[in-house]
């Protein structure tokens, strides 16, 4: 029996479609369809957080000014709330938030446009910009295979030793050249070891998790080791200077934290965590292969094919060591930012990298975003909004007996961890920094101690893909699931929080906080 000739393209709906197409032309029809879709309820629904954020901001501006808060402070709080919601939910491209902060400062706070523009560029922002350019320059030198070979030479072929080696080497490098740089360099190393072990991803599921998390968590725990480890460290250094340093008061010089000061406080934290990271990863994922000899032999063949180190390789290393020396020895004189920019200029002058590489490799929107967030943070302080929120938060903590000592530190760490897991950690410190530093003042705690806890805790973004740059980069490999981050992340959060609190209680008092 023959099938009824029911070609779908000749059905009623298709006839209607064709009629519409004939009436308005194919291009017009497609345009109409596109508009219809854009106006579709679900598309509006996907932008809901933008509308909700604006609505909340408008309501805050219309509400009666709470006691102890000025109108300007309420406006800044409304802007910060809207920015935080947009940071977390990302209904619009994030640089849009930066643009809105700038516009808001002029129109809502009545600040002169020139003053707003001036507040955008600080040494911290210059440092973030320079570090990102250095990151691109370092990655372009293709030293990653040599680093990979160094790791396997140091550790042998046992999976657990390689995982430890990757965490250690990634960490040491990330503490100086930034976690995103090292994650980008080490990701191919991890994937190569995985693919050379087995071509079937399902057979190496746990091995992949162990090696890739060794990279990302190694970078994350190290990113607090030095100021150049992450943008948030530079942001906190900037806040200390902006909020507490008074050139006429010698007592306040301790708030000018330089590169070595920072390392002295934070580097031990990174070193202590390394063995715990490997232990947690191996216990959580139990890799399918205990030995990676086959993969290591093949990796060695790939590295051998590169030949000996070239002059340009050595030149890149020398420039970076020169920058590192500048940060350690002269950052208090010239600023971290100037030295980073100088390093980037050296890479350009020697021809090791082209401006186009910087242009395409650096996301300039991030620089703008941090600049605007820091500028808003300063407004939080200047208008008294940060102090008001800090007092309210402290009042809340007082009701549960957590307004001083370790309990307060744990509350600061917990709040920062919660926020940093939902947005970029630099943005978390930019938003929370002013509040936490004011909290320290109100609670009569050391702003340096609370600042360090805030900055360090912002690296505990182990639970989500978006939390840290390193997590985002290893996730791009396609080997990990978002649930893997939760499975192992909570253990990492517990471990890191305990180490931080122990450090704050036992080690920092010994070195003068």
């Amino acid at each position: 029996m023959a099938v009824r000739p029911l070609q779908p393209k000749n059905s009623g709906v298709m006839h209607r479609t064709k009629r519409v197409q004939r009436a308005i032309g194919v291009a017009g029809f497609r345009q109409a369809r596109r508009w219809r879709r854009r106006l579709d309820f679900w598309y509006l629904w996907e932008r809901r957080w933008f509308l909700i954020a604006l609505l909340i901001g408008a309501l805050m501006l219309r509400m009666p000014t709470p006691e102890g808060l000025t109108t300007e402070a309420l406006t800044v709080l409304a802007m910060s709330t809207v920015a935080t919601i947009l940071f977390i939910t990302e209904p619009v491209p994030l640089p849009t938030v930066a643009l809105l902060i700038i516009v808001g400062q002029v129109f809502l706070l009545g600040i002169q446009s020139t003053d707003v523009a001036r507040s955008l560029m600080t040494d911290s922002v210059l440092f973030i910009m320079g570090s990102l350019m250095l990151a691109v320059a370092v990655i372009k030198q293709k030293l990653d295979k040599r680093i990979a070979w160094l790791i396997v030479r140091m550790t042998g072929t046992r999976t657990s030793s390689i995982a430890f080696g990757i965490t250690f080497v990634s960490g040491v490098l990330a503490s100086f050249i930034g976690e995103h740089t090292v994650a980008a360099m080490m990701l191919p190393v991890g994937i190569t070891l995985i693919t050379l072990t087995s071509g079937n991803p399902k057979e190496v599921r746990n091995l992949a998790a162990v090696l890739l998390f060794s990279i990302s968590y190694g970078c994350s725990i190290a990113s607090i080791g030095t100021p150049s480890g992450g943008a948030r460290n530079a942001i906190m250094i900037g806040y200390w200077k902006e909020f507490f340093f008074d050139p006429t008061n010698a007592e306040t010089r301790k708030f000018l934290v330089d590169y070595l000061d920072w390392m002295l406080h934070a580097y031990p934290m990174f070193l202590i965590q390394i063995p715990f990271v490997t232990f947690i990863l191996l216990r959580t994922f139990r890799p399918e292969y205990r030995d990676l000899s086959r993969a290591v032999v093949k990796l060695r063949a790939q590295v051998d094919a590169q030949g000996a180190m070239k002059l340009t390789d050595w030149l890149a290393i020398v420039i970076f060591l020169f920058v590192l020396y500048g940060w350690v020895a002269h950052s208090s004189d010239f600023g971290l930012g100037t030295i980073a920019i100088m390093g980037a200029a050296c890479f350009l002058i020697t021809g090791l990298v082209q401006w186009e590489d910087f242009n395409s490799g650096v996301n300039w929107g991030v620089v703008l975003l941090y600049a605007a967030a820091i500028s808003l943070g300063v407004q939080m302080k200047d208008t008294g909004a940060a102090a008001w929120v800090a007092e309210s938060f402290l009042e809340m903590l007082r009701s549960v007996g957590a307004d001083e000592g370790i309990a307060l530190w744990a509350a600061v760490s917990g709040l920062t961890t919660a926020v940093t897991n939902t947005m970029s950690n630099g943005a978390a410190v930019a938003v929370l920094g002013p509040i936490m530093l004011k909290l320290a003042t109100v609670a009569e705690e050391s702003p340096l101690l609370i600042g360090f806890i805030t900055s360090i805790s912002s690296s505990f973004a182990y639970l989500t893909v978006v939390g840290t740059p390193a997590c985002t980069i290893v996730y791009a490999s396609g080997y990990l699931k978002t649930t893997d981050f939760l499975k192992v992340g909570w253990k990492m959060v517990v471990m890191s929080t305990i180490v931080t609190l122990l450090l704050a209680a036992l080690y920092w008092p010994l070195i003068g906080i």
Binding site: V3, R4, V13, P95, L187, A231, N363
Partner: protein
């Protein structure tokens, strides 16, 4: 000519694959549907565009380029290769097919869209495409705009979402099923050979759905069954008349009519329970507007979300 665009009135199937078993089952089903002589199959893997902001300011493209320098493949390549092996196993592609690789620049991503286009002398196409988009749903819907497909097949999410979560954050399959301008098959444990269960409520739209599904069933030699749920015993005669009208649409089509079901109860629950015995539950697209559907929900949406097996939303 538009990229991937139709060259004739050939039936066009877009298979979205993500490496899950469900998506590969969907691909096999597409081969079955398009196994005749005149169907184009476009297999697409949508890779969300690399975003640099979350990487702390370094564009992920830098990491991506570094991976490519090491000779490592993009995540979707392995998935497409497996899909390709499935196509080869079915002997769909012969030696006389020509192959062409095409790259299209996409703003914001250095690697852009890449595809391999296989075609035979009759103009039939099999396309493997690695596409970038801001998100997977947008990528799939954009691909429809490029090619104007008759049917989209995609795997259901492995985790079932609650009604509340689905309202706030619907799964990709739900979003595509409800927003795509063409019919969408959400594959969930899809097995050929158990026939299609077509739902009817007597409406013009439901009768059109029957006609269209009979066409699809004829392509894969599947039997069809009909179901109309009565909310109570009193309305059973009306449902029976709907089924009678539906039955008349199946006569003389060459497609075997297997069962005619008229359960009493909640439409969604009864259809899901009865549908478990079939390969695919076939439902009409909801006639409600986006706002109405959001506020009141729809049978179609509930079935897509709750069904234990595959659901075909017919448009």
């Amino acid at each position: 000519m538009r990229e991937d665009g139709p060259t004739s009135d050939r039936f066009r199937i877009l298979v979205c694959i993500d490496g899950s078993d469900e998506s590969y089952r969907g691909l096999r089903y597409a081969v079955k549907l398009g196994g005749g002589v005149d169907a184009d199959i476009v297999m697409v893997y949508v890779r969300p565009i690399d975003q640099g902001l979350r990487s702390g300011g370094l564009q992920i493209r830098v990491a991506r380029e570094n991976m490519l320098d090491w000779g490592l493949e993009l995540p979707g390549i392995q998935v497409l290769k497996k899909g390709w092996e499935i196509l080869r196993e079915t002997e769909l592609i012969g030696d006389d097919w020509t192959e062409e690789s095409v790259h299209t620049d996409v703003a914001g991503d250095p690697l852009g869209d890449n595809k391999i286009d296989f075609s035979n002398k009759l103009g039939r196409k099999i396309v493997l495409k690695l596409k970038v988009a801001t998100d997977v749903t947008t990528g799939i819907l954009e691909q429809w705009e490029i090619g104007e497909y008759d049917l989209i097949i995609l795997g259901a999410s492995s985790t079932r979402r609650s009604a509340a979560r689905s309202l706030i954050d619907p799964s990709i399959a739900e979003k595509v099923a409800l927003n795509a301008p063409c019919s969408v098959l959400v594959a969930r444990g899809l097995e050929v050979g158990h026939g299609h269960l077509i739902c009817t409520d007597g409406s013009e739209r439901a009768l059109e759905t029957i006609d269209r599904d009979i066409y699809l069933a004829s392509r894969c030699n599947c039997a069809v069954s009909l179901i109309s749920v009565s909310p109570d015993v009193e309305s059973q005669p009306q449902s029976l008349s709907f089924l009678e009208a539906a039955r008349s649409h199946t006569t003389d089509t060459g497609v075997k009519l297997e069962d005619v079901l008229n359960p009493v109860g909640d439409a969604v629950e009864e259809i899901i329970e009865a549908g478990a015995n079939y390969s695919v539950i076939v439902v009409s697209d909801s006639s409600r507007s986006g706002v109405e559907e959001f506020l009141m929900g729809s049978v179609t949406k509930s079935i897509v979300r709750k069904a234990h097996n595959s659901v075909l939303v017919m448009r």
